[in-house]
Symmetry: C3
Subunit: 422 residues, 3 copies
């Protein structure tokens, strides 16, 4: 009976308590049944971690809760004020058998399921991570930085050019002064149920970053990313959404869900080519960051024009309380700020951002938006942050967006967020 | 490299196992990186708790699973019998940095996400709690009592007058013999995505409770609550749902989802004023509880009538096994019963409840419903409860409800629940 | 104040940190308040377990993440290739007060909530489990085997005859050489909200299994199951879906969601009778498994024909690395394979499967499908499995399915899965 692992370990779990003590004892002495190994529990600045003494197995739950409020002023359109929960998310993270890792991260904001990272990874190659599943394509410094750690409440307009999360496989390798990541990807998590004869789109994306300067409390980061992406394709051109792509953006505010700039659906798209250039510098408590993204849509019909769009942002940040923005060399991203003082850390920030969705030569007038933001972040402790942003939004004469807005609207936004990350 | 917190603690988590031991070692010795602190694991009557020895950080998972069955007798309408999972819920609770707390509670019944409590709280002011996020407005003793601890399977009809959960901010303060809580609130969690020009509704709500009698195993509780609430408002009156409010109620049974009393949508509502009065008394194993709620709808057009509705309930409970209903002085609510005997606790209960949604002077005949309930609760252990309720429902001649029911229906309901709370 | 359990344990949790140290201290010394008992944390081959030293209370989180890719060849229909997350699931499992158990298991694949097991169980009768809630009806060896442990990526065609998960109550008893389980069930979890006058369907299902041979590393399993199931019923025959049943099946591939065989909705169904016969044999690393299911639909109108359908499968498995398929005697199911070697276990598998949804005498031509599958499974470690399946699918001339497919389609599928279970 031992040898078939009857009343096996899996059963001890599945049926725990259902078997009498004698049988359970027998099961645990079955040589094929793994023994229970002790696990220690810790926390590091509010993040709960369980792990074996030899670090072969780790588990940690994390989560985030972001409560937003926004007021809109001086708009020619009637933008309603409001509050919302921007993100309400739980994640289970694991390291197992030393060289494997996994993350399963689910968002419940808007009372809807939105699976974010859901991947299985292999770390057995030195300084490398091979991942399969759903995660962000390697493109864009601000896009890749966790929403818990971004400097402004919303990412910049050009984040909409980044390919975001898709199902795929990627390999990343890092050294002390550089990292490179590349992968192939399919559709988004929620968009995988095929119709007849309509192949999912795919993409190939890569990013390389380096640290030409890396000194005591200072660094200079540069990066470059490129992405080739196809739309859903169909041999039968009457199929809905086949060979279409669209680019649009919210005005760096999410409480009011409208978008003022929008290319609309572009048809007969064969693929798009996107390029991103990044630079960032940290000099102790002061830092700068800037990115430029451009994208071109190549058509299936040679006679059709090939619209291209671009945008950029630049921002500065100053920690009045002396912290500096921490950097993760393994992924070329910025990380969690932990205040030095029990009264927390205070950061003042300013950003200029624009995205131009007009391509007159291609006949697309999606609008051009420019946003200047001033803000202050109070890192109350390692787990809690209060953010305030004041935005000056300027739309051009083509920005009627996805809700037939009055064009040329110039308005201001005052928004604030209370954020928990654990 | 130390100073930039490269391969920082956050990375140690995010990339745990991805960095070689040498680098990881370096990271953990970085003076800006928080050390891992040990966390102890306990349970208290089946609720799992993790906490640091100094109680600065705590985490606890809780949940509930409620399995219901209901049979409907003697109805002039054909009410179908059935079973359902009434609630299936997980929550993550946290205390962090001693003076901060949080709860994130998600329900999955009906295979839909329903985020319940999702808040961040500050407890640094003595005997006080300041909360931001989604939680119940302070109104109504039975409304505020957790569904795990309510005495009957469903709350009374007048629970529908209580404002329930909304996104907002509230401050509560308590002393040994009284507590007071007040707050301002916006929309419900799922209703925060603004349309153009349609402002979210808001409310201002407060509740005061006191214990005029507080003796050995006995207490008398009194309370008063008031709430001012506006509907979604629009400058453009053609917008859907703008300036509308509605009041309706299920017959204290949830398996059959119909409602027999319903005001329908009342238009041109400026705001509603609700008032609640509470009283409860515990004399050892015997307790009584009663509430009266009334609400008036004030219109945007002066010529329109201002309908008002009211209702009340009273119930008695007797623990044959000698337990008493525990009371939480910090929030003025009743709490979890923990049986004294390994065979559990047994409670017999009876309630009379009514809600009148007829206001003839205002031309609204939403129906009047009266329900008498007899029941028995077996608290099998601290985590498990079997509830049975038998209802006598009497509807008046206007109670056609939201499904065009035959009016004047008098019927009986036999319903039972097996409930797990952990 | 002590005696009313004010600032009770429940409050200590709910309000943890909200009460001053003095009051909290008093609360924990209240004799009615349960003391905190220490809980130990372990893992067994990557499954995290928390339990009290006396095993009275246990908690374990488990989960699964399955990432699939599929390519379709030689089809007369245009079947699109693709990738998808097949399952992304978390479960909380509990044993409490020694004799009670519970499971709450939620799937988030397709960005939708799908509550799987959600039950409360009693284990106080020796070698028995009484369950209430949502779980699989006891029918079908492969149906009952967890998706984490099934031998092929998808269960066989005849799994669609098994009644699957419903809300109900079931009692199971086991001995060393046999087990029997029976129960009564209502509707599926997501289908419990009654309309007026439309009773939920119900079913009565039982299964008996035995081990005529049970030796060192070898066993022979036989089983028999029967199920009586009614559709939603209505006195008013115009109600939607009343008295209807349907049987259909995907071609053992889930990336493309089409089905080639489908009876369509059969009306005027009084109930269906299903019967299943199972046999399995393990001889060390080699095993065989086969099942035959048949179902007949009995009509409410005597003159109507009573269609019946059947199907079967048989498969063989060989662990090249010497493991054997572990068996759980308490439930008559197969269990988790734990590789012997750090390089993992390797299994080659082959299956023939067919389902015939044609009943010409009853006038139903739903199609007949036959599938031959070759596959290989690499159990990388106890938590990770890479599966590859190659399918030869043969449809008959009636198999237009639920998407008006070209009938008689013969095609091949190459599919693979990376699976994490923890």
């Amino acid at each position: 009976m031992k040898t078939l692992r009857t009343l096996s370990f899996a059963c001890l779990l599945a049926c725990a308590g259902f078997v009498g003590p004698a049988l359970a004892q027998e099961a645990t002495t079955d040589p094929q049944t793994p023994a229970l190994e002790p696990v220690d529990v810790f926390h590091g600045a509010g993040i709960l971690i369980m792990k074996t003494p030899d670090d072969s197995f780790k588990w940690w739950l994390d989560g985030r809760l972001m409560i937003d409020a926004a007021m809109y002023h001086n708009s020619d359109n009637t933008l309603a004020n409001g509050v919302k929960v921007r993100r309400a998310r739980f994640a289970m993270n694991m390291v197992f058998w030393k060289t494997w890792a996994s993350q399963l991260d689910v968002d419940f904001a808007d009372n809807a399921v939105d699976v974010k990272d859901a991947w299985i990874g292999y770390t057995g190659v030195k300084n490398s991570l091979l991942r399969f599943g759903n995660f962000r394509e390697p493109f864009g410094l601000e896009t890749l930085t966790s929403s818990r750690y971004i400097t402004f409440m919303e990412r910049s307009l050009i984040d909409n050019i980044s390919p975001d999360r898709h199902l795929g496989a990627a390999f990343g390798h890092w050294q002390n002064r550089w990292q490179a990541t590349g992968g192939v990807f399919g559709p988004a998590f929620e968009d995988t149920n095929d119709a007849i004869g309509q192949d999912q789109g795919y993409s190939v994306t890569g990013r390389v970053t380096a640290l030409p300067v890396s000194m005591d409390r200072s660094l200079v980061h540069v990066g470059f990313a490129a992405s080739y992406e196809t739309p859903k394709a169909a041999t039968d051109p009457t199929l809905k959404d086949a060979n279409q792509m669209r680019l649009r953006a919210r005005p760096e505010s999410d409480v009011n869900q409208g978008r003022f700039i929008d290319t609309g659906k572009m048809s007969n798209v064969d693929h798009r080519d996107a390029i991103g250039v990044e630079a960032a510098a940290v000099f102790g408590p002061v830092s700068f960051q800037s990115e430029y993204n451009t994208v071109q849509y190549v058509r299936t019909v040679a006679a059709l024009p090939e619209p291209s769009f671009d945008g950029w942002y630049a921002f500065g940040s100053w920690f009045l309380t002396g912290e500096n923005r921490p950097y993760d060399r393994t992924s070329g991203e910025f990380e969690r700020v932990i205040p030095k003082s029990p009264r927390g850390a205070f950061e003042v920030v300013a950003r200029y951002s624009e995205l131009n969705l007009n391509d007159f030569s291609a006949g697309i007038t999606g609008g051009h938006e420019q946003i200047t933001t001033l803000g202050g972040n109070w890192y109350i402790n390692a787990n809690l942050r209060l953010m305030t942003n004041y935005l000056f939004v300027v739309n051009d004469q083509y920005s009627k967006g996805d809700r037939s807005y009055t064009t040329g609207d110039k308005f201001n936004v005052l928004q604030a967020r209370l954020q928990l990350n654990f």
